[in-house]
Symmetry: C2
Subunit: 153 residues, 2 copies
């Protein structure tokens, strides 16, 4: 079975937890076994958001995940990025795993969003999608859907 890893940093944006559930749902539908690696507060939000673990089964602390990560541990990396710390995590995971990767950048401020996307593009060959999604998750959801479809083809 194909294995996907989703990275979640500090949950500053209201759309992060909903989009994380959606991404797990979507990738599971596509046949991936999905693991979510996140900071402690992002994980608590996931737990509250899916109390019966109907959508998200495999959750791991991002630091514990990193400690045992090896090249090829997963087949697909998806990182949600809306802060510098999340860029660092994504770039680190990207270079260890060496697999096809997608960074999903969302930020309220368009300049910050552009800087985050640029930082990732300068440090990796990952696919990057970005959208000004803060309250309304639709722009980032649509771009995520297209990017995931492209990665599969």
């Amino acid at each position: 079975m194909k294995r996907a890893l989703i990275l979640l940093g500090c949950p500053e944006a209201p759309s992060q937890t909903p989009m994380a559930v959606y991404a797990v749902y979507k990738l599971t539908k596509m046949g991936y076994e999905v693991t979510v690696a996140s900071t402690p507060s992002a994980m608590k939000l996931l737990e509250v958001s899916d109390p019966e673990e109907y959508y998200i089964d495999n959750k791991i602390d991002i630091e514990s995940c990193l400690a045992k990560l090896e090249e090829g541990s997963f087949d697909l990396l998806v990182g949600f990025v809306h802060k510098d710390a999340a860029v660092s995590y994504f770039v680190t995971f990207y270079h260890i795993l060496n697999i096809k990767s997608l960074a999903v950048v969302f930020e309220r401020d368009p300049d910050v969003m552009e800087d985050l996307a640029k930082d990732i593009m300068e440090s990796t060959d990952a696919n990057v999608v970005s959208a000004r999604a803060y309250h309304n998750p639709t722009p980032i959801r649509v771009k995520f859907d297209h990017a995931i479809k492209d990665l599969e083809e």
Copy 2:
């Protein structure tokens, strides 16, 4: 069947959508038929957060809900409050419905949080719980659980 209405305003706080799913889950377990009335952006986040409608079945636009609201349309009102607009909605729904009600106030800034809670207590006899929950939903989840249990007894 008992009917509960959950009010969601503008989703500024990252914990609002996860807590909304949790509240629906909890009240459904307690035997309520739960409706969520929300602003358009809050509803989009709910849709992304629960793509198969496993947790949340009944969603309605907050203005449409208000337009047809009557005393006793529901048996329990729960409002999530972290902005002035949400206070206004809660107070309005409270006075039309005239049923047992709980306001769940969460804000990053403790002074703002206190002001919001005070505004509600001055305008209603609703139960009010408040917690500084922004990233970490645990404080507000625990207070919500207690308050709901108290309301049932």
